[in-house]
Symmetry: D2
Subunit: 422 residues, 4 copies
């Protein structure tokens, strides 16, 4: 998108914005402090989220989807241009084919993007693969299969190094579908041993993120099934290993914010996958279902990171991980980023001093009032102001539609394209 489109759009909306921003400034004393944090905050976009997602029952392509890594970078660059908060890309190997690291790195730099966590894939069989992952990968009873999966992860690290990435996210589909299928203990130990080999290949400045998930695609047990298991692995591996929390990977009613708080306490929270869900790993737009939960999670993140003196922007790996089945993926991502920025802003605005006192006095009513005051405050003008100062669009989604970007992408790329990946 050309810069003047953004400028024009912003001008048109400026007066209304100013009125709203002035109002919130009159209401809340520390707006500038919040804005300075928002300016630094960036979310990584996974390369696979740019295409239409699907379920086992089908997939309904929207058209104009990227046909290769270059086009994915272009799309994420566009998002970043609009909201100035999507300045990173998270690759997935082998869904992303990197023919020329140099060129890819330069292209990303052109769009002001850097490479966040690399993602390996040992949950699908690829063409020409020697061993199948049907019965797991790092957990597999057969050492040769484990070795193949280990080597794939090490290869991903190599590719990531060339791009300037500094972390590896390992999500394992490993587990079992039926009682008796696995010896849980041996599966754990095989997995640990495999992770240790990958860990040994990890550069010193890298982090390993161990993602957990309660179920799916295995429907009886998962070998990294909850935060407790992930933490066990991370502790046994060493200082570079961390737990990664994906909001959709829990059993019903789990208190994710408490998990976040405890992992921060243990210095073992490494990263985040944002999305929303109601039933399982529904991979919906962040904040579309339980926005208060998203706020409560950020409330813990802010509190816990501040307590440790950790920089919000760089202390954790922040990433969106969603599947866009019925929305335009780019619009969906704009909505997700907006919802996350709003939740972060509200969390920053919590009167932490007052909250600590209320907690100390067991004044439960007051504790709730303090949190809900922040949540009920309309902070959209603050997020918009931060975005404007970064050079983004006043209303990214509105501008995206005004510019008919999806139509242009379909014209360029065709209506039958399928993004590589799920």
């Amino acid at each position: 998108m050309e810069k003047h489109h953004i400028e024009l759009h912003n001008e048109k909306l400026q007066a209304d914005h100013q009125r709203r921003f002035d109002f919130i400034v009159s209401e809340y004393a520390h707006v500038e402090e919040v804005i300075s944090k928002l300016i630094k905050f960036q979310l990584a976009i996974p390369s696979w989220a740019i295409g239409t997602g699907g379920t086992r029952f089908g997939r309904f392509s929207i058209g104009g989807e990227p046909r290769n890594l270059e086009e994915k970078i272009y799309d994420i660059g566009l998002l970043h241009q609009l909201n100035r908060a999507s300045g990173a890309i998270s690759l997935h190997i082998p869904w992303d084919e990197i023919n020329n690291s140099h060129a890819i790195k330069a292209l990303a730099a052109h769009y002001d993007l850097h490479f966040d966590a690399m993602n390996s894939n040992t949950f699908q069989d690829q063409q020409g693969q020697v061993y199948s992952y049907k019965f797991g990968s790092l957990q597999h009873v057969n050492k040769a299969v484990r070795q193949q999966a280990i080597e794939h992860n090490i290869e991903v690290i190599h590719q990531g190094k060339a791009l300037g990435s500094e972390s590896l996210t390992i999500w394992l589909a490993d587990g079992s579908c039926f009682p008796g299928q696995l010896n849980f203990r041996r599966a754990f130990q095989n997995t640990l041993e495999s992770l240790q080999e990958i860990y040994a290949a990890l550069p010193d400045n890298w982090k390993m993120f161990i993602e957990y998930k309660a179920f799916e695609p295995n429907f009886y047990s998962a070998t990294v099934g909850d935060w407790g298991q992930s933490l066990l692995y991370a502790n046994k591996l060493g200082a570079k290993a961390y737990t990664l929390v994906d909001l959709g990977h829990h059993l019903p009613n789990a208190n994710i914010e408490q998990i976040v708080s405890l992992l921060l306490m243990e210095d073992k929270l490494g990263g985040f996958h944002f999305n929303d869900s109601r039933y399982g790993d529904d991979d919906l737009t962040a904040g579309c279902m339980k926005p208060y939960q998203l706020f409560l999670i950020f409330n813990e993140l802010v509190e816990g990171m501040d307590a440790k003196g950790t920089d919000h922007a760089t202390g954790l790996g922040w990433m969106i991980d969603a599947s866009h089945n019925v929305k335009d993926p780019l619009e969906d991502l704009l909505q997700s980023v907006e919802a996350i920025m709003l939740a972060y802003t509200q969390a920053l605005m919590v009167d932490r001093h007052a909250l600590t006192i209320a907690q100390q006095e067991n004044d439960v009513v007051r504790c709730q009032e303090i949190l809900q005051h922040a949540f009920r405050t309309d902070v959209r003008a603050i997020v918009q102001e931060a975005r404007l100062r970064k050079g983004g669009a006043a209303q990214p989604l509105a501008l995206y539609r005004e510019q008919q970007i999806r139509k242009k992408l379909i014209n360029q790329r065709g209506s039958k394209t399928v993004a590589i990946g799920l």
Copy 2:
């Protein structure tokens, strides 16, 4: 509370309020329309919610709790004086002993309260009761037990008539704890037959609300376990029988707003019990856990009632049903009423015309934007303005605390009082 306390309090907060109210008026065109609806909207307070609640593990009294029906009316009157939105009381027989209907009715009128739905109790055994409800009441295999429960319900109707109530809420704990314990079909038919006898005693201008609940205190089956069962009973009973929805009475992840919509479609939604929950029937403050869900429910209520031309204020029985285990019950109720009024206000502000168009176009992104726009708007000044116009306090909770009301109640009533009920 004396009137001038409220006036003083309001004056002090007036300038701030005016600024916020002016701002929202500048943002949203139909504020006056919304306010006119808020002014008419009243929530019934159940008499048992005025005392400290508990769990099977214990109960921690706050003190100053009402010792009789007169004191309960006093407390609800106080709430209503503060927020002008709690103008009804819902009695529970036999927890509430009505010695003189005339006097009680006059006392309530003094506080500008009327009597909403009457609640019967066949889930506990009372002193001197001939038959036990250990194995159910209206479902019981023994006709004599059912008869006793039927007569109790009829007696409750009589007491309600004397007070001007016009509805009976029947919540049954009936069900089973173990597979095999019940013949589900016979339990259903016994219950239906019992309800028919109660229905026959219902005055023409009364409604019968059939509340459903998935589980607890029975842990295998519930004889009115979901909206489908409740609707079956209501349809078999007749035009005066309706389903009552309690937010905490569902299986995990149930879509309550859809249930509400369908019951309205069938002309069979009768009433509402507000509370919030995470795990089961947790009976927490409305909107404390999932405020977006509360908004979505009101969104369906407003849409569905408007489609039928039903008056919001009188079309349904609106009641809070919560248990106040760790908060001052009066403060908790003030928080609940506030959360409900906010959700109702946001639902009223949804751009329904635009939403219908977006739905018609399958513009899912826009549908979400429309709902979230309303939800993200800070509507507290609107609710406050409506309250002020009704003569209530600007900040009911703040004034309650300034006036040290709990302390006064403890002084008057003692610190060891236990409200009659749970």
Copy 3:
């Protein structure tokens, strides 16, 4: 498989079987009565269950899967030859291409199979389809889309008539992924209207089964989401419309056996999809996760059908609906059929007279003892005896392996075949 393979296999196992069968006969008086019911009981196998299933994360083919309808019939014929309890096939249009109804019908007859419920598909877009089902089919806001889906269903009825089927199962993925996306009421009414048009095309001797499902592939609402909704549709449609229960389509902890009982009470239970699950619609082998639940469901089926005098074998549509992701599909189906037969047998053995008395006396301990006595009894010899008398194999799974059938299928069909369907 040649007949003598079965005979040889049976002979080898006869002595052991006889000892076990004699023992159970010595324990339980009504074995012959049970066997006579088992002999008549048949389960329909869905044509899509013969191939390897998958999740949205991948699919690991086992090889040797059927490449067309003829091969599917062959495979189901083989299952039926082995267990003599899989004497029906349930087709799915358009996954099954029927070029010549006559020939297909004759082929099925050759394997002693008849055609159970036909399944329509309006949850995927097919090559060349004019309108997309991305936003639903029978619920769609656009009448033209609904009309296309209606016509597809009518076409499926036509195809079914030619094959001798007498029922149509409609499972709709219709629903929404995001709050606001749908007007629930209009979605219901569109769906009802569409169903009415299909119903009008239903032959007099046909049944329409309306399957409900709580979620997936839609993750916010489902337009036929629970038994209450399905029953509403069925009642509005008429006498030929029934509810179909799929065990995996419920919210967590739902009491399915109670639903079954109430639907039987209302004369509206039409059919069953057997499978097992832990988290969602996991589509696992029947009885692999919660065999006691399977027994309890059969307990209600037997009780409820006997109360109405309904024939067990013909009164309901009995079908397996599972996805075979990590097992050989044919082995998985053999396990499912066995588990279902065992549960049915145990349900038949419940001392119903004693249970009624215990229920009447609220003797909860005795009720449980009666059910658990039946469940704890080892009834495998009874099921085996029934199978032997029908000409089946003593141990179908063992014989399937001895005969190395999968290997033969791979040799014939290749290892890279993909069954048409999911």
Copy 4:
């Protein structure tokens, strides 16, 4: 009960038993090995389980309940006399008042009972207690409250030492009901610090069991909420601290058997509370709802303990923890013990060698067959034989009824007694 009653009862049933036992011996080679393990296996009965339990909605006493510790010991002694598998009692302080340790110990010895884990109570306020536990105990923001709770626990250790107990079970209701109420990290650290003080007072030969629970009586967060948190505490405390698993204390669908396996792997599984549940901590009879799950748990216990060479009988604390709301508590306990013994027996009968091979070959079908073969086997005669050899009754529940024990207890103790406790 007099010994000859048991003898007479057993004689009457002997012929039938022998036939069944002979049959199972003819089916399974290692019956004697199994029996030798069953003979050593004992379950502790909690003193509070002897009385009728209740919910927050009410309690329906059965009458004849024990009025003091002596009568509780008598009742448990009776159970043990009947089934010879309930040879331990688990006390709860202050519900159990121990006036004379010496006498109590002698009384227990008279009934062949020893004292299993002691249970402290810091979830209720007791008469005369200085500080309230309304806002937690070991987690409390106020050090004085924590100190009071610490001292109570130390007092419980002292009382336990006098009786010969060797373990302390700490179940904390600590947590929060509302977002914001607690600082999760500080609550954890306060709890840890408190546990450290108690741990310091623990005799060298004692174990500390840290029980976790997902929710109830707190409905937002629990400070020892899952196995991961419990393990964190246990690891930070030291070698005498262990996790205790209560089957009802998990989120929906949790894979408890995997948790058990991993805790055994980490040498941190300390004890077990048996019960069954469907919705929450329903505290129902063991095996009444999900008997296959109970078997799968025992399958992991046997496998894991055997792998470490741990003695089954003494390696873990085995206890029932249930609430008997609608059944005679003694009958309920007899049913629970029976269900547990059956599950243990079936787990012992699993062909572990074959299972290991099948797992090694990813033969998922065979893995399931092996487990289900054990589960489908009727092992009641084996459990009965073991009980007979220990001098117990052939059919404990039947004999309990024949002897009309409840009637006798009501005659002795009255019908309005309320056991001290919940």
